[in-house]
Symmetry: C2
């Protein structure tokens, strides 16, 4: 439960934070601070800067993963054991989750070869989805 998760991370279990976790959970995909902000209802609203601050502290405490996408915005997602990456359409921004992460073996090799302690990775593949490709073909 959210309450316990937050406290275990040394954070106060405030209504806003619990709501943010809930939003990220049933969002099902990485969300920007702005998207989280808009997902609040009128009754329980939350200031945008509070959203940023809370998402960042939760990311620091490893409750969330923070990733920057090619659009230049930062996306947050719950830090579940099975993290996911995306293939994103350049045109409509539809995204397809990529199930297996090909970087795990690479990270092991890098640790051995460079002596770095690996703390994270991010990647994103961009493309054009079949629907947008179709639209383009029609235009010409």
């Amino acid at each position: 439960m959210d309450e316990q998760i937050l406290k275990k991370a040394g954070l106060k279990a405030t209504p806003r934070r619990k709501e943010m976790l809930r939003i990220l959970l049933n969002g099902g995909c990485p969300l920007t601070a702005e998207e989280v902000y808009h997902a609040f209802s009128e009754k329980q609203s939350c200031n945008l800067s509070t959203v940023y601050r809370a998402l960042n502290t939760m990311a620091e405490r490893r409750l969330l993963q923070k990733n920057i996408h090619r659009d230049g915005r930062v996306y947050y997602q719950l830090n579940l054991e099975h993290h996911s990456h995306q293939l994103v359409c350049e045109r409509c921004h539809e995204s397809v989750p990529i199930d297996l992460c090909p970087l795990e073996q690479l990270e092991r090799d890098l640790r051995e070869n460079t002596g770095y302690r690996i703390t994270g990775h991010q990647f994103e593949i961009s493309g054009v989805c079949p629907r947008c490709a179709e639209k383009e073909r029609e235009k010409k």
Copy 2:
């Protein structure tokens, strides 16, 4: 030669653009617009917004690759056939090039499974380099 490369891409071969290509070439690693800007000499200076504009148009014409790193800034590099990715130290930002790109096979699979036309990818692995890890140990 730079002159030909630019013209072949349908761009004017101006002194500034040739210099930018030169800077990126002997930089040897991805550079931000700001870094390119500072690499100009006093004699041949170049406005920062011109740097941004030129790098972006060269990227559009596929002369450069554009990648966003975890620090939130956009890095540009020459679009050589053998592109490279980096392992970046969170503390000192030292970076180690990663020779082989593990995403090529994945991209082929994705094209087949999703119907997307793949246009690019980016990834970056972050970690802490041995020197910074050592410094941290000393502090404690």
